[in-house]
Assembly symmetry: C2
């Protein structure tokens, strides 16, 4: 099967062109059917490509004169959609010149530009930023929203659940992914009114929505491998995601510090390197890089601004996987087949 090519915003991220190109090259070495549209300053991309002939052969360059900066307001960036690398990468998805776009740039701008260019799917009010997180179980779990929508109502949360379940089916192969709403307790009375309303609606419709819904989950239980999809508003989701990342880094730092604190420990560290390498692999956010805006008519993936080449390659792999499994078409079909009537009921209930 031929894979549509992936547009890479080569200018985004803390490290810029070099890391984005290196990451794309790494992804290409792993999967030689990947093809790319590299968007950005042509000269700089060409220079970066000199070290990566394998990527050069699989890529076309789309020159962009301009770059969205990290601290730019989304409204400001929107006005420069036709000249910036980010804007042009998204536009390539709109025109069909690419099947998906990856950017490590300003998240707010990426969201605003994607929404304007690609529009939300029929039946979806707002796109949600969604990522895979490691668990103790066999599969990663899907969490959304991770920061695209600061405040969400019950209707948004129900839509996020449907989109998250579609993503999880691809990841886990489960027909009925186990979906939960993130809350500060599992009792029905816990949390905000919107959360309670969303829970009631999902409970009533779980069968139609081809998901297993069992109410709320607390933030200390999300990575036990017992939940496939964790649904939350963008504020709480972002707090939870970053708390997880920060704690993982905290622990890695402690581990390093404690291993360095004695000669005996140093020796132990060397002997047990395979174990600590496994741990490092699990804790390194680069190995879980690539968050997707679900709910748009097209696939747009956000790579972390501080990701290294391995991280960028993983974001590209996430993008390819979503393309391969036609995530967009699958969500649209789910919404039509399962969610259509339900969402109308939800809309009424929420009014």
């Amino acid at each position: 099967m031929t894979l549509p090519r992936i547009a890479v915003d080569a200018m985004g991220g803390d490290e810029g062109v070099r890391v984005m190109i290196e990451g794309a090259a790494l992804a290409r070495r792993r999967h030689d059917r990947f093809k790319f549209l590299l968007v950005g300053d042509e000269e700089r991309i060409k220079t970066a490509l000199e070290n990566h002939p394998n990527l050069r052969g699989a890529s076309e360059i789309l020159h962009a004169t301009d770059v969205v900066s990290g601290d730019e307001k989304p409204t400001q960036a929107l006005r420069r959609a036709k000249t910036t690398s980010m804007g042009l990468a998204i536009n390539a998805v709109k025109t069909g010149a690419a099947g998906a776009a990856v950017s490590a740039g300003n998240t707010g701008a990426l969201m605003a530009m994607s929404k304007l260019a690609l529009r939300t799917m029929p039946g979806i009010d707002r796109p949600a930023l969604s990522a895979l997180l490691p668990t103790l179980g066999e599969n990663d779990m899907v969490m959304l929203d991770l920061g695209a929508n600061t405040e969400c109502d019950a209707r948004n949360l129900v839509q996020f659940a449907i989109m998250g379940a579609a993503y999880s089916r691809i990841v886990t192969g489960r027909d009925e992914p186990r979906v939960r709403l993130l809350n500060i307790g599992t009792e029905e009375t816990k949390g905000t009114d919107e959360l309670q309303m969303a829970a009631a609606q999902l409970k009533a419709a779980a069968k139609d929505l081809a998901m297993s819904f069992d109410g709320f989950v607390e933030a200390d239980k999300i990575n036990r491998g017992e939940v496939d999809v964790v649904v939350t508003d963008g504020f709480s989701g972002n707090i939870a995601l970053k708390a997880v990342e920060g704690t993982a880094r905290f622990v890695a730092d402690l581990l390093r510090r404690s291993f360095a604190s004695s000669l005996r420990s140093k020796f132990g560290f060397l002997v047990s390197r395979p174990a600590t390498e496994l741990l490092k692999h699990h804790l390194d956010p680069n190995n879980h890089n690539g968050a997707v805006f679900l709910g748009l008519n097209g696939v747009v993936v956000k790579s972390h601004g501080s990701a290294n080449a391995v991280g960028v390659a993983n974001a590209v792999a996430v993008t390819a996987r979503l393309l391969e499994h036609n995530i967009t078409e699958r969500i649209v079909a789910d919404l039509e087949r399962l969610g259509g009537s339900h969402l109308r009921r939800t809309a009424k209930a929420a009014e």
Copy 2:
């Protein structure tokens, strides 16, 4: 200096009397000036005390016929304040029979009962659940609210900041603790209106409030040792706290699993035990047990329901420290001296 005695709700917690008494006994072994009022079923307390003559000599028993159950609604528990161990422990603080109360029971009930019996301090609208979290720096940081108030306005957040700073002064010895509001980005435009309003008010008043306030902090930066007080609403605070706890456990499980995966690793694990013990010490929530309801006319400390004896002893130690440093009087004084005029302005701004 004599320390007022501490009322212990001996019936709360997943393990009940045995663990609470063992924990109190452990705390007493560490600090022989601690005195206790043990509240609960007299027979069972006496039986548990048989193994702990040191505690028995330092304790009085207050018999309670009834227990607040874990899944009981706060409104229901309130009606049984005069017969339950939790209610009587709190009442002992009110009457002065004890200087503070510790319970491992139902958090919602503990909050409701404490609020009704002890009332909030003048100048404080709502108490906040506050705990110490480990950091990479020299000192623990104070985080509040951790779940007492699902939704908070700017005025609540400003009051939490003042209370958290008072707690942090005791913990860190700093005259001007570094206070931040938890948010999903550090730019001024990030987060809800209430957060932005709270930030503006704290910025304007930081000097009067004897704190160093520098806006927002993201959840991945709270444990770097660069912040002393993290202020948030109870929903986000609870999510952040549990995400931290869950990730720490996740990592500990991974570490165990990876060390067990090869003989070489097993050997490495043994050799590096001092390092992994240090890590375990940092990750075990028992070592950070004891969350206090700040803002009440009296000290009430929540011990985690699943805490072991070491955890209970740590909650008792937190209680003793707060008593020793007169946390209640210090917050009242801060509010009067620094916050009084400011809080009135805040109240106006929030209207």
